[in-house]
């Protein structure tokens, strides 16, 4: 799922509109393919190497936020080797023995030094000393076999999911709620520990999804579950959702921000500050409505 810094959206009155990309754009498809190549050919390579290789394409991307978002999605689907658990204690023993050897006054060859460390620490110095660092974890596989287009679709979906993280409830409206679809919806609602209130009229079905404690204003408990549930909705043929979301952390406009000009306060010429303070939207603290009625294709 995308982190806050990778979210792209625009605000229009009380509505929030996710920044979708065109999944057919040749430039974006080529970029997705390049990133996929790095990961698909990266089995056995360290996390650090993959990061360095991907960086090449990320730097070439004019929209860096989009590039990082796509990279994050691939990283979320990548599996790495697990770090060795007792590497820390083994390292401590070797380093302590090495430190005592380095304090000796007589010259040693490197081979003699390493042999002395081995004898003193009872550890094999030829085994990696730092195998437990995340940077040295090796890629074992990518959990899904994405095509470039699927990866771009996944990015669009992740943009919605990132917004849904701050919601407490979601209203789904659909015209086609067959028994099979209903069964799948119920199964997933149960899996994600969500509650649903279903209303059916002649031409549509409305499902209000939330959690058992969603009445409590402060709870953020269900955002992750609802966001995780969202791909299930995308499998429907026709759907429409509406949710109240909080775009970013609310900006608390303190008195000093509201009533004072920057130059008066600081006595220093801070042209950027004036611009910045003028831009701070106090209304950000209000929740916005996310309405989606388009179909975000998933595979």
């Amino acid at each position: 799922m995308l982190t806050k810094d990778l979210q792209v959206y625009s605000l229009k009155s009380t509505r929030i509109i996710p920044g979708f990309i065109d999944v057919e754009a040749p430039g974006l498809l080529q970029f997705a393919e390049q990133l996929l190549t790095v990961f698909n050919e990266g089995t056995g390579k360290t996390r650090e190497t993959i990061e360095a290789e991907a960086e090449l394409y990320l730097q070439g991307q004019q929209n860096l936020k989009f590039g990082k978002g796509l990279y994050k999605i691939l990283m979320d689907h990548a599996e790495f080797t697990l770090a060795e658990e007792d590497a820390g204690s083994r390292r401590d023993a070797i380093l302590s023995a090495a430190a005592s050897q380095l304090k000796q006054t007589e010259f040693q060859t490197l081979e003699a030094y390493r042999a002395a460390v081995q004898a003193l620490s009872q550890q094999d110095p030829d085994t990696a000393l730092y195998p437990d660092l995340p940077a040295f974890e090796q890629l074992t596989r990518i959990k899904r076999d994405f095509s470039p287009r699927q990866l771009l679709q996944r990015y669009n979906m992740a943009q919605v999911q990132a917004l849904l993280l701050s919601t407490q409830s979601l209203t789904l409206t659909t015209q086609e709620m067959s028994a099979a679809n209903l069964r799948r919806i119920f199964k997933c609602l149960k899996f994600f520990r969500l509650l649903a209130e279903i209303k059916q009229t002649k031409d549509k079905t409305t499902v209000v999804i939330d959690g058992p404690l969603s009445l409590l204003e402060g709870t953020k408990k269900y955002g992750l579950q609802i966001a995780s549930f969202f791909p299930v909705i995308c499998l429907l043929e026709q759907w429409q959702i509406s949710a109240k979301v909080k775009p970013k952390r609310a900006v608390k406009t303190s008195n000093w921000m509201k009533h004072h000009s920057w130059s008066a306060i600081t006595g220093i010429c801070l042209p950027m500050c004036r611009k910045k303070s003028g831009c701070l939207p106090a209304t950000l603290k209000n929740r916005r409505r996310l309405d989606l009625c388009c179909r975000i294709p998933v595979y």
């Binding site: 090449l56 490197l110 030094y113 040295f136 600081t266 801070l270 042209p271």
Partner: protein
């Protein structure tokens, strides 16, 4: 412009409880620096070389200002170091904000990252803001820490205000103009340790030389054919963009990396490094590299503790403590210990690889210049002969620090 009444509703902080005198005597230049800052309405930059006690200047500035102070620092290690020092001088709890801690007190230390995120919420509690290593401030994100702070009293401390992007001019508008400056060669009275610097050229093997030339040529051909100029501030981004777009871009970038790696980690460098470690047995040595990979290669080969940004906080603290106590005599690092870390006992620095940045180099030199009894510091630079490292080394030594070293080089005498 007409004078108008100003009602300041920003700060309602009570005056800070400060001692009448500090427990240590300020040196003349420290006194002068704080005087100049105070005379400039408690605003401005103080530029002093590393290791001469900039933090004492800041502590005196806080004492004289007598207002709640927020000290902004680039790393968590520095934050802890400052908190300990501030607590000792002010005898009151010091707030620490960052690295998992969220304590706020009238004197608080905070990282640049946390300051950017939190300034809008906590800025009105601190009429005095101090930016340590303030050359970090002009960055597009970090500058928000200064922009969002309403503090009327501002102090910037650095040894190296100059930036490759000329961002130092922004410092003057964010903090105030330069109120005091002294260079490293203004100090000759034992304030800094005596030091020598030595550049050691080591030859590459024939095999390394061939591979180096091959890869470098591929990289240079690409740069020339795409007319990329690295003298432009966007040179590197342009290169990466060109690599991303060209069909052979990946190979070119790989060639660029390979030639760098060959020069940075030639076999002769490892041999020379081992020789130096033997030569300085018992002395406290810091080995610097440009890349994490090389730092870990050295750590694995010579069985040494390595600190990089990947090192977990607890292990980093353990390594540093053991190094300070003398249990470890050698520490390998990439860039994270370049700045601010105070290990007065460290007397030997070995730069196995580095960038052409004067700032980075001077900061690295500063790690071994902290005065200590009978200390003579020594900074070695290992460079691969016939490689681009020679030019890089020339570039990074364009600083006054290299005019002030002691002249008696023992190796030359022998």
């Amino acid at each position: 412009m007409r004078d108008c009444a100003l009602e300041d509703q920003v700060f309602s902080t009570p005056p800070l409880q400060v001692p009448e005198q500090l427990s240590i005597t300020l040196r003349d230049y420290q006194q002068e620096a704080v005087d100049s800052w105070q005379a400039n309405q408690c605003q401005g930059l103080i530029i002093l070389p590393t290791g001469v006690g900039k933090s004492i200047v800041a502590i005196e500035a806080i004492r004289r200002c007598g207002e709640a102070a927020l000290i902004v620092l680039p790393t968590i290690d520095l934050m802890i170091q400052w908190a300990t020092q501030l607590e000792k001088h002010f005898q009151q709890p010091i707030g620490v904000y960052g690295g998992g801690s969220k304590e706020l007190h009238p004197i608080t230390v905070i990282t640049y990252d946390s300051a950017v995120l939190m300034m809008e919420y906590i800025g009105d509690r601190f009429p005095l803001i101090i930016f340590d290593e303030c050359h970090h401030l002009p960055g597009p994100v970090n500058r928000q820490a200064a922009e969002l702070s309403p503090a009327p009293y501002r102090l910037g401390l650095t040894a190296t205000p100059e930036r490759n992007d000329n961002g130092e001019h922004l410092l003057y508008s964010l903090i105030g103009h330069e109120v005091y400056r002294r260079e490293i060669n203004d100090f000759d009275d034992g304030v800094l340790a005596l030091y020598d610097t030595e550049v050691i050229e080591v030859p590459m093997t024939a095999e390394e030389q061939t591979e180096y030339q091959l890869n470098r040529q591929q990289y240079l051909d690409f740069v020339r054919s795409h007319r990329i100029s690295f003298s432009s501030p966007y040179g590197w981004s342009n290169f990466l963009r060109a690599c991303a777009q060209a069909p052979d871009g990946r190979q070119v970038l790989q060639a660029f990396r390979t030639q760098k790696e060959i020069a940075a980690a030639s076999a002769a460098k490892f041999d020379k490094l081992w020789e130096l470690l033997n030569q300085h047995r018992g002395e406290r040595i810091i080995i610097f590299t440009a890349l994490n990979k090389l730092a870990y290669d050295i750590g694995e080969r010579f069985l040494l503790p390595v600190i990089t940004h990947n090192t977990k906080a607890a292990e980093r603290k353990r390594f540093l403590d053991r190094f300070r106590q003398g249990e470890f005599t050698v520490l390998v690092t990439s860039k994270v210990l370049n700045e601010g870390i105070d290990v007065p006992e460290a007397s030997v620095g070995i730069i196995v690889s580095g960038s052409g940045s004067v700032r980075e180099h001077v900061q690295r030199l500063g790690r071994i210049l902290r005065p200590s009894a009978d200390k003579r510091a020594r900074l070695y630079e290992l460079i691969s002969a016939g490689s681009s490292e020679m030019n890089i080394s020339e570039r990074r030594r364009q600083h006054l620090a290299y005019d002030n070293q002691t002249q008696d080089n023992p190796e030359q005498e022998n």
